[in-house]
C-alpha cells in the first residue's frame, strides 16, 4: 500500500508492502522498530537505533493530524490510493459536473466493471487497479453516468492516467477522441 504523507511543508511517500513487510519512505527502505504506547496515543520509533517518540496530539478522526516528534509539533495529512481518488472525485458529489477519475498511482488495470453509458450509483465499483501488490477498488463518488472509459482491462497505466469520465445522468457518451 502506498501513502502520500504531507508533513508541514513537505510531502513524503510511505510504502508498506503487503506481505514481505518491506517499508520504504521516499523509495528508501527503512529498518524500523515501532511500538505503540496506547495509554498516551504515542508511538516509539527506532530507526537504526535513533529514537523518536511520536505522540498524536489531535483527537481521533481530526484532520489534519497534529503530531509531536522530539518536542517539535507538526501537522500531517495522509492519503492512500483510495483517498487520493476520493479527493479527486470529491467535487463530483452529486455528479452535476464532468468528473475524471485518474489512476492514483502506476499499476495494472485488472478489471473494468462498467461500460460507457451505464448509470452507476454512489459506491459502485468501476475498476480494479492493482498497485503495490494491493488491489484497489475505484468506486463512483456519486450517482452518475459513465460518459467515457479511457482504458481496457489488462492495461498498464501510469500514475495520473485518465481511467473513467463521469457526468450527470443526462449526459451523452463522449466521443473516443475528445478534448483529452
Amino acid at each position: 500500500m502506498r501513502y502520500e504523507v504531507v508533513l508541514g511543508e513537505r510531502t513524503m511517500i510511505v510504502e508498506l508492502e503487503a506481505l514481505g513487510g518491506l517499508l520504504t519512505v521516499d523509495g528508501r527502505a527503512v529498518a524500523v522498530d515501532i511500538r505503540e504506547i496506547r495509554a498516551e496515543r504515542a508511538w516509539h520509533v527506532l530507526i537504526d537505533g535513533s529514537a523518536h517518540d511520536v505522540t498524536v496530539l489531535s483527537p481521533p478522526r481530526q484532520d489534519p493530524l497534529r503530531l509531536q516528534v522530539g518536542g517539535v509539533e507538526v501537522r500531517g495529512r495522509v492519503s492512500d490510493a483510495r483517498t487520493v481518488s476520493a479527493r479527486l472525485t470529491a467535487k463530483a458529489s452529486g455528479a452535476h459536473t464532468r468528473v475524471e477519475l485518474r489512476a492514483p498511482m502506476p499499476g495494472l488495470l485488472k478489471a473494468l466493471h462498467v461500460r460507457e453509458g451505464d448509470v452507476v450509483d454512489e459506491g459502485t465499483g468501476m475498476a480494479t487497479l492493482e498497485a503495490m501488490k494491493m488491489e484497489n477498488e475505484l468506486r463512483s463518488p456519486a450517482r452518475a453516468r459513465v460518459v467515457r472509459i479511457a482504458v481496457r482491462a489488462g492495461d498498464k497505466v501510469e500514475g495520473g492516467a485518465l481511467l473513467v469520465v463521469l457526468g450527470p445522468i443526462g449526459t451523452a457518451v463522449e466521443p473516443e477522441v475528445g478534448q483529452e
Binding site: 501513502y3 504523507v5 508533513l7 508541514g8 511543508e9 513537505r10 513524503m12 510511505v14 508498506l16 508492502e17 503487503a18 506481505l19 513487510g21 518491506l22 517499508l23 519512505v25 527502505a29 527503512v30 529498518a31 524500523v32 522498530d33 515501532i34 511500538r35 505503540e36 496506547r38 495509554a39 498516551e40 496515543r41 504515542a42 508511538w43 520509533v45 527506532l46 530507526i47 537504526d48 537505533g49 535513533s50 523518536h52 511520536v54 505522540t55 498524536v56 496530539l57 489531535s58 483527537p59 481521533p60 478522526r61 493530524l65 497534529r66 503530531l67 509531536q68 516528534v69 522530539g70 518536542g71 517539535v72 509539533e73 507538526v74 501537522r75 500531517g76 495529512r77 495522509v78 492512500d80
Partner: protein
C-alpha cells in the same frame, strides 16, 4: 490573628496553587466551583467544595455575594482571591472585610489608590519615581487630548484610566491619527466599562522591556523587594514567558527598580504581596507603569530563585505576621524561567481553543516545577482564561535554566487541544531569545517560525501518520506486534518492517 480555613475564590491552576500553600501551612482549604468545574482538579484537591452557579463567571466566580456566603457558611476566616476574577476588585475586598473575613491581599483603600491609572501616576510621581511623560489629570474629550498630545509629543498611547487587559488602548503615531484613535478608544472603553471613561494620554515607549518588581509588605511598615522579572515576551499585553533575573538588568538598574517599587508601595500604604511594573528603555532608563495589587501568574520564578513561598507568605502576612526577613536577607540564587501553557493555538494567532484534553504527560525531574490543573479527560471551557499550567525551571545560571526548560518542554505532552507548547519550544531555541536580546516587540518579529524536523524524525512521523490514519480508516485500534522486539547486539537488531501492524 490565627487563620484556620481559607476560601479559595478562584478556579484552575491558581486555585490549586493556593490550596497547596494552605496545605503546606496547615490551613484547611475550601474550593468553589461553577457548573462547568465539578470535576476540576481544584475541587478534588480541596478539603471542602461548594457550587456557586452556572458556568459564566458573571454568574459564579465573579459573584462576590455567593463567595462570601460560602465562606461564612463553611466557617472560613480568610478569602484568597488568586488572580483575575475579583482579585483587584476593591468592592470585593471591602465586602470580605465587612463580613468579618480576612482578605488575602491589600485592603480596599490600597487597591483604590493604585487601581486608577491617574491616581497611581500621581502617587508614583509624588513619591519621586519616574513616570512616563503624560497627563496627570483625566482627559475627557478630544480637545483636551489634543492639548496633552502637543505637550507630550508623538508617538503616544491612549489608556482608559480605570481599564485593564488592553481594552480601549490605542497607539497613535502622528497628530493626523489622533481624532480617529480617540473615537475608537472611547467607544471601546465605553462598551467595555459601561460608562464614558476618563483617559490617560502617555508618551508611547517602543522597543522597551517590561520589567516588574515583586515586593511584599507587612502590617508593621516593612516593605521588601524580592526580585525583578522580565516579562517582555507578550502578545496583546498578555505575557507568555517570564524570567528572572532580567537578562538586561544590571545591579544599578536593579537597585533603582527596587527602590522605586518600595517608594510606590510605601506611598500607597501597601500590605501583602504586590508587583510594580516598569518599562525599561534600551538606554537603561525606566518609567513606572502600574502596580498589580495581587499575586502574579509569574510568581513561581521568584520563588525558585529566592526559596520564598509567596502564597504561604501572603497567608502569613494576611494573618498580621511580620515579614520574617529584611531586604538584605533576600538573596537570589541562579536563574528561573516560566512558560505559560495556555489553550491557545499559536499557529492560528493564539486563538483560544476549547475542547477535551485527552492525554497529559507532565514534565518532571531536576529543576522542573509544574503548577497546573491538568487532568486527562478534562474539558477546557471557553468561559474562562485559557491558562492551563505554568511550567517553571531553575538552573544555576540563565543557560542552565533555559536548557532545563527546553528539556521539560520536550517531555511535556498535552493532547486533544492546541496549546502554546510549540511556541515555547520554538522560542527557547531562537537565537535572539537565547541571547537575551528581546523586548515587547519580540513575538511580532519572531513568530510564527518555521518548524524544523530532522530527517529521521520526519520519517518516524510519516510512518506514524500512516499507521494512525490506517487504524482510523479501519475503525479498529491500531496494532503493532508487542512481541516484535529483536534482542540482538547492535548492527543486527533492526529488521525492516516485520511488524504485524505494518501489514
Amino acid at each position: 490573628m490565627r487563620l484556620t480555613k481559607v476560601l479559595v475564590a478562584n478556579r484552575g491552576e491558581i486555585a490549586v496553587r493556593v490550596i497547596r500553600a494552605c496545605r503546606d501551612v496547615g490551613l484547611r482549604s475550601v474550593a468553589v466551583y461553577s457548573e462547568a468545574d465539578r470535576d476540576a482538579l481544584h475541587v478534588r484537591l480541596a478539603d471542602e467544595a461548594y457550587p456557586i452557579g452556572p458556568a459564566p463567571a458573571t454568574q459564579s466566580y465573579l459573584r462576590g455575594d455567593k463567595l462570601i456566603a460560602v465562606a461564612r457558611g463553611a466557617g472560613c476566616d480568610a478569602v484568597h482571591p488568586g488572580y483575575g476574577f475579583l482579585s483587584e476588585n476593591a468592592g470585593f475586598a471591602e465586602a470580605v472585610a465587612a463580613a468579618g473575613l480576612v482578605f488575602v491581599g491589600p485592603p480596599a483603600a490600597v487597591q483604590r489608590r493604585l487601581g486608577d491609572k491617574i491616581a497611581a501616576r500621581r502617587l508614583a510621581r509624588d513619591a519621586g519615581v519616574p513616570v512616563v511623560g503624560g497627563t496627570f489629570e483625566p482627559v475627557a474629550d478630544l480637545d483636551a487630548a489634543r492639548g496633552a498630545a502637543e505637550q507630550i509629543g508623538y508617538p503616544l498611547i491612549l489608556k482608559p484610566a480605570g481599564g485593564g487587559g488592553g481594552k480601549g488602548m490605542r497607539i497613535v503615531a502622528t497628530a493626523a491619527g489622533l481624532a480617529d484613535a480617540w473615537r475608537g478608544a472611547t467607544g471601546e472603553a465605553q462598551s467595555a466599562l459601561g460608562a464614558p471613561a476618563a483617559f490617560v494620554v502617555e508618551h508611547f515607549v517602543g522597543a522597551a522591556r517590561h520589567v516588574e518588581v515583586q515586593f511584599v509588605a507587612d502590617d508593621h511598615g516593612a516593605v521588601v523587594p524580592l526580585g525583578e522579572r522580565d516579562c517582555s515576551i507578550q502578545r496583546r499585553h498578555q505575557k507568555l514567558i517570564e524570567e528572572t533575573p532580567g537578562p538586561s538588568v544590571d545591579e544599578t538598574l536593579r537597585e533603582g527598580l527596587f527602590d522605586a517599587a518600595v517608594r510606590v508601595a510605601r506611598a500607597a500604604g501597601y500590605r501583602n504581596a504586590g508587583t510594580a511594573e516598569f518599562l525599561v528603555a534600551p538606554d537603561g532608563s525606566f518609567t513606572f507603569l502600574e502596580v498589580n495589587t495581587r499575586l502574579q501568574v509569574e510568581h513561581p520564578i521568584t520563588e525558585l530563585v529566592t526559596g520564598i513561598d509567596l502564597v504561604q507568605l501572603q497567608l502569613r502576612l494576611a494573618a498580621g505576621e511580620p515579614l520574617p526577613f529584611a531586604r538584605a536577607d533576600v538573596r537570589a540564587h541562579g536563574a528561573a524561567i516560566e512558560c505559560r501553557l495556555t489553550a491557545e493555538d499559536p499557529f492560528a494567532g493564539f486563538l483560544p481553543a476549547a475542547g477535551t484534553i485527552t492525554v497529559v504527560r507532565e514534565a518532571s525531574g531536576p529543576g522542573v516545577r509544574l503548577d497546573g490543573a491538568l487532568v486527562p479527560g478534562m474539558v477546557v471551557a471557553s468561559e474562562y482564561d485559557p491558562l492551563l499550567a505554568k511550567l517553571a525551571c531553575w538552573g544555576v545560571d540563565r543557560p542552565a535554566a533555559l536548557a532545563r526548560m527546553r528539556r521539560a518542554l520536550g517531555e511535556m505532552v498535552i493532547s486533544g487541544i492546541p496549546t502554546t507548547l510549540p511556541f515555547h519550544r520554538a522560542t527557547l531555541g531562537e537565537p535572539d531569545f537565547v541571547a537575551g536580546r528581546y523586548d515587547t516587540g519580540y513575538i511580532t518579529a519572531h513568530w510564527p517560525r518555521e518548524t524544523v524536523l530532522g530527517e529521521e524524525a520526519a520519517v518516524a512521523a510519516a510512518i506514524v501518520a500512516v499507521l494512525v490514519s490506517r487504524s482510523a480508516a479501519s475503525g479498529a485500534p491500531s496494532t503493532t506486534d508487542p512481541a516484535a522486539t529483536d534482542p540482538a547486539v547492535p548492527g543486527a537488531w533492526a529488521r525492516a518492517g516485520r511488524h504485524e501492524g505494518l501489514r
